[in-house]
Subunit: 349 residues, 2 copies
């Protein structure tokens, strides 16, 4: 018998909410028959939408929350706003009524509310943002993508442990390889925090998975399954890579419109080009995850459509189905199984 | 009457040296008729090569230097090595016999020897590595690409001034726009050094060119002509972007080999695809420049061929022809024209 799990869904966050959210849930319901959803938001707007999306309605309960955290709302204001759909969704996770929450709303507000309400997992100093991206050798995990702009060795090692648990839960890998993002692959390269983190990883339980330092070009090459970095360079790398892929796609579109021969050429090569386009489709990689909290929190891109929202829900569902919470706990225990939390902390230098 | 300028060329650095260097000089000689070259290296190997490349021989003098800094040689060892072609080439710049030097050798050694021998321009705290790259809106300048992994506001502002002079000299822009690489475009984003640097730039002589913070995706989009960053994130961004473009090129090659229709499609669209390939050709963007020294120093990619080496020579020639030295001096003077160097330094906080 499959275990049923519940996800809290912020119905009101995102540029096309609540339509894209409810339509996305209908898609997610098909893909994850063991998931139940609490749809949090303005009941007056959601009731007619659910009536149109029977498949979503069948697996949803509605929780009314009249207020919405606006896309441009300051974090402090969002934290004070009562009865927002975002806050209510995360409160459901804190209260144990849901195993996780998904929102396409204001990133800063999601992070701040999630950290405040859910708190970090014992043994984790700072939560990190992770996401999945394409590479020549299959999907990879990148983290941190912007939650922590400056990191010490301890943070980086914790990111490695969280990335490992995430790759196991969501990519289904049993032995994911791991690299630390640096400006060169030699041991003496980079800043002190990176060299220290590498030293700890080389001597810890992830040693067999740790491939050492990787460079920017290793991300798209898929040299390792997980790329760990501070939040500043991870954010820069993610957006630079996306930008380069978009540039190439735009230029290709231009090329295929040059003349009649090029248009015909496109038509002939179309099946392969379409497969490539689908494979690189940003909606497929939608869903940035806030790792290290007591509960699963997935942030969907604000501008995505129902396909993208369904992908973000899938990330949350996979994390819950594959017991991300236990995987991360196991990783932290192995870091130094005998020491109490205080002593382990000290080991990071 | 055109002014003749002299470049010192390390003939022995690089994977295909000295052949690719001499052949590259032959190409560069055509493009820069006002350039003369001192070819530094093993005379016994260079003499027969020059005999085969008449066009290079016509504009070259030979300077014998028997030793070579190996690709894997440690920096300390390279600094101690007497009579290396690299050291001799840079010594020519220091002695005023050449306005600049080009080498495809060991990056660490080039940087260390250049800094030691040439010293930084008065008013510049730390030299930076810059390079030109493609974007949707034309070529752009990126710096720092790895010379300074950790930077304060002062360093970043100096990079902005050097990037401005470089964009004027090499891209021929009269009013290049400038962005500071960050994780978001809002004023409060990022680390303290970035916010301080932005504040200085908003209130300085570059204010009219300064577009504020840019993000990773702005690089390929060409949002600004110059992207300034610390050396760590700049290095990560450059290599990540290159990696993403390479992934896309590899995948396209696969697509066009899928079946007969795809192959035919490629042939029909080929002129446009070839133009795209040429436009993105890394050899066209070869030549990383060490900015901020008393003399022009350009590092060519070690694995490049004669086309790539000629491009690196072109960067050096453009910097000299368009008086990069005066442009950077003018930028530093404008930073605070009335204050003596000591006082100006203090203004960076």
């Amino acid at each position: 018998m499959t275990t049923l799990h519940t996800l809290a869904i912020d119905a009101m966050g995102g540029d096309h909410a609540p339509q894209s959210v409810v339509a996305g849930l209908a898609l997610a319901a098909e893909r994850h028959p063991n998931m139940r959803f609490v749809l949090v938001g303005d009941a007056a707007r959601l009731t007619p939408l659910l009536a149109r999306h029977k498949r979503a309605a069948d697996v949803c309960t509605l929780a009314h929350a009249p207020n919405v955290v606006g896309a441009d709302m300051k974090v402090a204001q969002a934290l004070r706003l009562r009865d927002s759909s975002l806050r209510a969704a995360i409160d459901l996770v804190a209260g144990g009524q849901a195993a996780g929450a998904v929102s396409a709303g204001n990133t800063g507000a999601i992070m701040a509310i999630a950290k405040l309400v859910l708190k970090t997992v014992p043994g984790i100093d700072r939560p990190a943002i992770a996401a999945i991206g394409p590479s020549a050798r299959g999907d990879i995990v990148m983290l941190d993508l912007g939650a922590n702009l400056e990191c010490d060795a301890r943070n980086l090692v914790e990111f490695a442990i969280m990335g490992d648990a995430f790759a196991r839960a969501v990519l289904g890998l049993t032995h994911p390889t791991l690299g630390l993002l640096n400006v060169g692959s030699e041991e003496q390269k980079g800043v002190e925090s990176l060299r220290q983190a590498a030293e700890i990883l080389r001597n810890g339980h992830l040693a067999g998975q740790f491939a050492g330092f990787v460079e920017g070009h290793d991300i798209a090459a898929g040299t390792t399954d997980i790329v760990v970095s501070d939040g500043f360079s991870g954010n820069v790398a993610l957006k630079t890579g996306e930008g380069a892929l978009r540039l190439m796609a735009d230029l290709l579109r231009q090329v295929f419109r040059t003349d009649l021969a090029s248009r015909l050429g496109y038509l002939l090569a179309r099946p392969g080009l379409e497969r490539l386009r689908e494979w690189l489709d940003p909606r497929r990689y939608n869903g940035a995850v806030l790792l290290g909290l007591n509960g699963v929190v997935v942030k969907s891109h604000g501008g995505t459509d129902e396909e993208g929202f369904a992908a973000a829900v899938s990330v949350a569902a996979d994390m819950i189905d594959h017991r991300f919470d236990r995987l991360i706990r196991a990783g932290l225990d192995k870091l130094n199984p005998d020491a109490p939390a205080g002593a382990r902390k000290a080991a990071f230098g």
